[in-house]
Every structure is written in C-alpha cells, then in structure tokens.
C-alpha cells in the first residue's frame, strides 16, 4: 500500500474528531476551519480560558501548515503540490489534542528536530525568555518569525510538543506534530 499522510494518524480517533481536514491549506481553508471549531467550542460551553487556548493553538498549528509545509513529493497524490497538509482536532478527556501532518524537505528534518527538542527540554521560563528574544530581535519574513509559532504552542499548552518523522523517500519526510491543551 502506498504511503498517505493519513497513515501518520491511524492511532487517532478521526471519526469522532471535532475537526478533520486533509488537503490544500489556503487562507480560506483556515478561516473556515477556525469558524467551525469556534462554533463547536461555544456550543460545548467550555470555559473561556480553555476555549481561547485551544483556538490559539489551532491558529498557530494551521498557520504552521500554511507557511512551512514543503511541496509534496513527486508522485504523491495531491490536488496541488504546495501547502498540503492534514489536521485533526480531538476532544480527549477534559482537554483537546491538535495534530497536524505535512511534508518537509529532508534537509530541514535535523533543524526542525533540534528546534523541537530544545523547546521540549526548556522550562516554561526559558521558553518565555526565548519567545521574547526572538520577538524583539529577529526580522519578520512573509513566513513569520523563526520558530515563534512552535514556542507559542509550547507556552500556551505548557506540555511538551509530541513530534515524529517518517521518511518518505531520499528527499522528503512526512512530519507529525501534536499539541495537547489541558484545562488548568
């Protein structure tokens, strides 16, 4: 069987998910996904603090896909080769789990792994200081600020960010990122 990004989320409850999407992640796609999730969260009467955290984490996760997905590998079935990704948002216990998957160029894997490992080894105070340092000293590009989205997710969730890579071929790797937002 040929590889599909869905293979990376076979352990998740896709059928019971609050949000499931696989395809091209355009600005309109993000707007629609956020609108849908916001309506669902409001309907659950979730505490505003948790609702806002979940919404924020979803915004950064979706915009990570928008800005940082690399082109899909040659031969992979996708309507369009750029900005292709998958997102699953589930209710787990009294919290929420947001998982995104996309392809990254093989040469970016080491850098991304090091960045995430560094975040996961940092204390909340170190993450806060690193966030402020990047905010104050780095120049913004059209893709945003280097790693600020991941730091923001780590800050908002207070948990380590789960990630995994699955080599697709010599040039491309599939990447999964999972953040859990639990009530405080």
């Amino acid at each position: 069987m040929s590889f599909d990004l869905e293979n990376l989320v076979s352990d998740l409850d896709i059928r019971g998910a609050i949000l499931y999407y696989k395809g091209n992640v355009e600005s309109d796609t993000i707007t629609r996904a956020l609108d849908l999730v916001e309506r669902k969260l409001l309907a659950t009467r979730e505490a505003p603090r948790l609702r806002k955290k979940v919404y924020n984490v979803l915004v950064e996760s979706l915009q990570n896909l928008y800005h940082h997905s690399d082109r899909v590998p040659r031969g992979y079935h996708a309507a369009r080769p750029d900005r292709f990704g998958l997102v699953v948002m589930e209710k787990i216990g009294s919290g929420y789990r947001v998982t995104t998957c996309n392809f990254v160029s093989g040469v970016r894997v080491k850098e991304l792994e090091e960045k995430l490992t560094r975040i996961n080894r940092s204390t909340p105070e170190e993450i806060k200081e690193l966030y402020k340092d990047i905010l104050n000293h780095q120049e913004i590009t059209e893709k945003g600020l280097g790693g600020l989205g991941l730091l923001d997710i780590a800050r908002k969730t207070g948990h380590r960010i789960d990630f995994r890579f699955k080599k697709y071929d010599n040039l491309n790797t599939a990447f999964r990122l999972t953040a859990v937002v639990a009530p405080l």
Binding site: Y55, N56, V59, Y131, K132, L145, L151
Partner: protein, 126 residues
C-alpha cells in the same frame, strides 16, 4: 493628518488611529496569514505622526486573539510609540484583557518588559 480607520474582519482587527485626538485603537482579532501586509499602512501612518506628535498619545489595545506573526507587527507599532515617548511626549498604552485570560495578560507583560513606555493592564470584567 487624516485618521486611519479600518473595519474589522474575522481575521483582522478594527483600527482607529486619529491624529487630531491622539487616541489610537486596535480592537478584535489579529490572526491574518500575512500580518506584515495588514500592518504596513499603520506603521507608515505612524512614521508620519512621529514627525509631529501631540503632547499626549493614548493607545488602546483590545485584542481577543492574535497570532505570532501579528505579535511582531504589534511590537513594531509599539517601537514607534517608544520613539515618540523618547522625544519627550506623553504616551500611554492601555492593554485590555478579558477576565481570566492570563495568556493575553502575559502577552501584555511581554511587551511591557520590551518597550519603555508606560503600560496599563486593564482587566475587562464581564
């Protein structure tokens, strides 16, 4: 100087910068994919205002959500305000956050620690 007034959208905040009153407001959500494009006219407007600022400028930030790319653009707005403050003009930034929204309070505190302009944290009780 003509005021700059922009209606809010689901992803961009409403803007009202009025040079005659010296009161500037950013309100709503700031989560566009391309924040630089949205904030560019604001910062250009502020570059002009900085030449002849009023004795007192009051800035009200009432954001419900903002993404990380907006966070840098908002800092750029604050850096211009800091420059006005350095030139011996009063500048006051009111950072509003909703009750229990500690993330928004922390975001305001981040800016307060970076920018040398008086910040007021104002909790909105619903």
């Amino acid at each position: 100087m003509e005021p700059i007034i922009i209606e809010g959208t689901p992803k961009t905040p409403s803007i009202k910068f009025d040079a005659r009153e010296g009161v500037f407001e950013i309100k709503g959500r700031s989560i566009p994919e391309n924040s630089v494009e949205f904030y560019k006219p604001l910062n250009e407007w502020l570059d002009q205002y900085m030449q002849v600022p009023l004795d007192k400028t009051v800035v009200n930030i009432r954001l419900e959500y903002f993404n990380t790319s907006s966070s840098k653009c908002i800092l750029d707005v604050f850096k211009r305000l800091e420059s006005i403050h350095r030139s011996k003009h009063d500048v006051e930034i009111n950072w509003f956050y909703e009750e229990d929204d500690e993330d928004m309070l922390e975001a305001g505190e981040d800016y307060d620690s970076i920018i040398k302009v008086p910040f007021k944290m104002i909790e909105i009780i619903e």
